[in-house]
């Protein structure tokens, strides 16, 4: 809401500079987006929120400033009182559609150009000057917050000489050509102002072209109404016609204020257009039932955190236009007619605090019952995981939850969750995995880094349900599958978990043989694989490997401690075993068998491995023999050595001499 400062000063005495007034408004009333200068006029730009529709007017803001500075608002505008002699217009209304509908006929108008005073203020407030008749409606709307619509009465009569106006829902298939020259298809949710031939305006949103006022207009039907806010909102949104008027209709409007502003606008039509009021109709609730809100002393103290004397509270409320009665328990408050937002004691308490000043509310330490806050395994798991990966050279990325069009080429959209109102095609589908997010990060960094290590710990959104996932990607490193597997094993080790790797069903995004599922016991918690070379190439990446773990499961399994293993005191004997093992035979199985060969096998280390292009694998295992009871002799080890050699051969290995 743009409010020219000079306009404000017509209604309240302001001796402070505009900057100070802006600061005061922002601390006690409403957000100030800034102070503008338009054509020599200083203008306040206010962020009016839904609850304070009354501040969408110069008078509304003036009232608040008067309350704030403890002064009175200037002028005592009167409500319009139609003389009894005035002829009655025929208007049919449904109060469900329009709580109050008034129509005033102004005759004998003679046009002249809009006075500079009015057009420059409209301009400063961000509205275009159209013609005198329309300008006056906008001027009074900005001043009082009540929208008006002016119909050319002769044009209306030309359509239907009986002048029978009805406020009703639009009929199915009905159309209207609006002021902007466009044909609008109406829906039965819309409210229209209609005569017997059809709609002449979309209520609260826009008038019809064929009843528009212009310089030749000499007789006006002036509408001032309060429509159903939700309906106006829906219609304005659907038609893309939100305006200064329609947005005011979305807020609470006061019948009292309607009559006051009507009085003001009719005076302006007399002064500037020489018009005479010649007919009137008013259908609906002319007054709102006054209601009170009780604010007890306890409630006020409980909101504020300290006792505020009731006398003070009463004074604040009265400055804001409340009628207040003191009772034994506290205050009974009747909000002023223009405030639709005061409904519960907390609302009244807020009014008191605003004027009391939030800066006067002192910090008050929390006094409470302390209960156990249990360890959150997800959070401790998160801390360990992110710091371990960072220690291992990985950088943590955070990426958008969507699948880009580039990645979408590789995915089947029917398997993805889709947005109903995507911002763009780049943000239309939700990601089912972190794989593509991380491939894109890698692609983005490739220009500067031929190799890299990244991870993300964030939500993914497969159709079966959102899930916190840990995704890790390396690119440009040799032996990427085993390198990444080592990282995953280190993570398992930190979590004191034994991770197992098993053959997984082929997946199109991964290398057909370098792909495995990751398990803890029998529970599958993720997958690991070399990114399919074709997919990597599509992202301009060299050999890459990726794993993704269901982090909620992993965190649940985390074991914070493990039992200490005694450090043996007797000397160990260390021997190396070198052999060739084809890729078709499992090295994990072989190591398992070797370990089982004797209780004296204390440690097996994969000391060396070498893989030729033809897929032949040379392996060297370094085995530590040790007894918890004695020093081992060559004789003790000899039979075990023979057994181990047999086990290696049985597991598919060929001993190298």
């Amino acid at each position: 809401m743009l409010i020219p400062y000079s306009w404000l000063k017509e209604f309240v005495n302001l001796r402070k500079p505009i900057e100070q007034v802006a600061a005061d408004l922002s601390l006690a009333v409403i957000g100030v987006a800034g102070i503008k200068k338009t054509g020599g006029e200083q203008v306040l730009d206010l962020d009016v929120t839904y609850n304070r529709g009354d501040l969408l007017s110069v008078v509304g803001v003036a009232r608040e400033l008067a309350a704030l500075y403890g002064t009175a608002i200037k002028g005592h505008p009167e409500k319009f009182q139609p003389p009894d002699s005035l002829s009655q217009l025929a208007v049919k209304n449904d109060v469900k559609l329009s709580k109050l509908y008034t129509l005033t006929k102004i005759s004998k108008l003679s046009y002249k150009i809009t006075p500079k005073q009015i057009s420059s203020r409209l301009d400063a407030a961000g509205m275009r000057s159209v013609n005198l008749w329309a300008d006056l409606t906008n001027y009074v709307m900005l001043e009082w917050g009540q929208p008006f619509h002016a119909f050319d009465a002769e044009k209306v009569a030309r359509r239907d000489s009986t002048l029978s106006i009805e406020i009703r829902p639009a009929k199915r298939g009905e159309k209207i050509k609006t002021l902007d020259g466009l044909d609008r298809q109406l829906s039965t949710e819309d409210i229209v102002i209609a005569d017997r031939r059809g709609p002449i305006a979309i209520a609260g949103v826009m008038g019809g072209e064929d009843t528009e006022v212009d310089e030749g207009t000499t007789e006006i039907l002036l509408e001032a109404a309060i429509f159903d806010p939700l309906s106006i909102r829906r219609t304005a949104r659907r038609l893309g016609l939100r305006s200064e008027a329609s947005s005011r209709f979305e807020h609470y409007l006061s019948p009292d204020n309607l009559y006051t502003s009507l009085n003001k606008i009719l005076k302006l039509y007399q002064v500037y257009g020489k018009g005479v009021v010649s007919g009137f109709a008013s259908v609906g609730e002319k007054n709102i039932e006054p209601y009170s809100v009780g604010l007890t002393h306890e409630k006020l103290a409980r909101v504020a955190g300290e006792a505020i004397p009731l006398l003070k509270a009463r004074a604040y409320l009265e400055r804001l236009g409340f009628k207040v009665m003191s009772s034994e328990k506290g205050l009974l408050c009747w909000p002023p007619h223009f405030r639709g937002d005061i409904r519960i004691p907390e609302d009244a308490a807020e009014e008191v605090l605003r004027l009391h000043g939030y800066e006067n509310i002192l910090a008050k330490p929390i006094q409470t019952t302390l209960e156990e806050v249990r360890e959150n395994k997800l959070e401790s798991g998160r801390d360990r995981t992110t710091s371990l990966l960072a220690d291992l050279g990985f950088s943590e990325a955070k990426t958008y939850p969507f699948v880009s069009t580039f990645s979408l080429m590789h995915l089947q959209t029917k398997k993805l969750l889709r947005l109903k109102n995507p911002i763009s095609i780049e943000a239309e589908y939700l990601r089912p995995s972190l794989l593509f997010s991380l491939l894109e990060v890698a692609k983005r960094n490739m220009a500067r880094r031929k190799e890299g290590r990244i991870f993300e710990l964030e939500k993914i959104y497969p159709k079966k349900g959102e899930n916190l996932a840990l995704g890790v990607l390396i690119w440009g490193e040799e032996n990427s599958f085993l390198t990444l597997k080592g990282v995953l094993e280190a993570l398992g080790d930190k979590a004191n978990l034994k991770l197992e790797f098993g053959h997984a069903k082929k997946e199109e995004f991964f290398h057909p043989v370098k792909f495995a599922e990751v398990r803890v016991g029998s529970e599958q918690i993720g997958i690991i694989g070399t990114v399919h070379p074709h997919l990597a190439r599509a992202f301009d990446l060299p050999e890459s490997a990726f794993f993704e773990i269901d982090f909620e499961r992993l965190a649940r399994l985390f074991q914070p401690w493990r039992a200490f293993e005694s450090i043996p005191t007797y000397p160990e004997i260390i021997e190396d075993y070198s052999f060739v093992l084809p890729q078709t035979r499992s090295l994990a199985d072989l190591i398992f068998e070797v370990r089982a060969a004797s209780p004296l096998v204390r440690e097996i280390e994969l000391k060396d491995r070498f893989e030729t292009k033809s897929g032949e694998r040379s392996i060297t295992l370094r085995i530590t023999f040790q007894s918890p009871e004695k020093s081992l002799s060559a004789e003790d080890v000899k039979p075990i050595r023979e057994k181990i050699n047999r086990v290696i051969q049985k597991s598919g290995g060929t001993i190298r001499s």
Partner: protein
Amino acid sequence: MNVIEAEAKALEEIARASSLADLEEVRLRHLGRNGVINQLLSEIPELPRQEDRKTAGGLINSVKEKIGNALEEKDRELKKKDLKEIDRSSFDITSPGISPRVGSTHPLTQFREFVRDTFSRLGFEEVYAPHLEEDEYNFGLLNIPPDHPSRDLWDTLYLEDGRAMRTHTSNMQVREMRRRKPPIRVMTFDRCFRYENLDPHHSHTFTQFEVLYVDKDVSMGQLRFLSDLFLKAVLGEKTRTRFRPKYYPFVEPGVGVDALCPFCEGKGCRVCGMEGWFEIAGAGLVHPQVLRNGGIDPKVYSGLAWGFGPDRMLMIKLGIEDIRYFYEGDFRFLKQF
């Protein structure tokens, strides 16, 4: 080898030794356990005559002493030489170290840990709520009915199945109230989504932190306490803050929290847009209807909610000029943390 030869050879080798390592080898060869001298000594018992054995022993021991002395002298000499060499050597200590491979956690992760620590010391427990949320938890139960004009505060992304991508972390409020009994002290640090085009200051994906505290006698005073405590922890002890009226349908009263600009200390500068203050957090006392929706009797209990945007806070605190950096995974950004 006889004693004389042994002496001559040892002394010659000692003289020739050019390094401490050489000298140690010489020592082992001559005076070691299996060295020449011990070899000679071990041959003594083979001499037939007691007199000869005595003479030989004396002779060998005197040679052993001579060699010992020569070794010591040479050792001193070589050490001296060595020290000179070490002294004379040069090394450029300004040459950069050999880089270990170090990664980094995301600034939002680091900040999350800080925030969580601060509030867990006050007994707040971390909770989570769905990103893809039923309309009622994101809006309806928070006093924001369908079609209501107050929904304009949130431009919402919807799924085809009718669920919303949550627009704030406040969807946890009623969920947590329904599964707990007061006193409730919970916090959440997570992502939210809005219908926004990307630019340096707007993002459809962003982060929020929020605390919810429900207890007897929760007041604006305690809101002030929590707010100040945290903002001082983040922005420094000298930080000044202020409350302003602000409308959120699920709190009453609602406030916006400003912090004095740490760069100009309120004078107004480019960073704070000449305002002197930053709007940094939003808060209020939980609306009685929201408490009721959560199954909590507002006659007995009251609550506060306080939250802020970690992305924005980090942007201010660290001088990051574009919110998109947080979500693009550029190493030139990530490696700085």
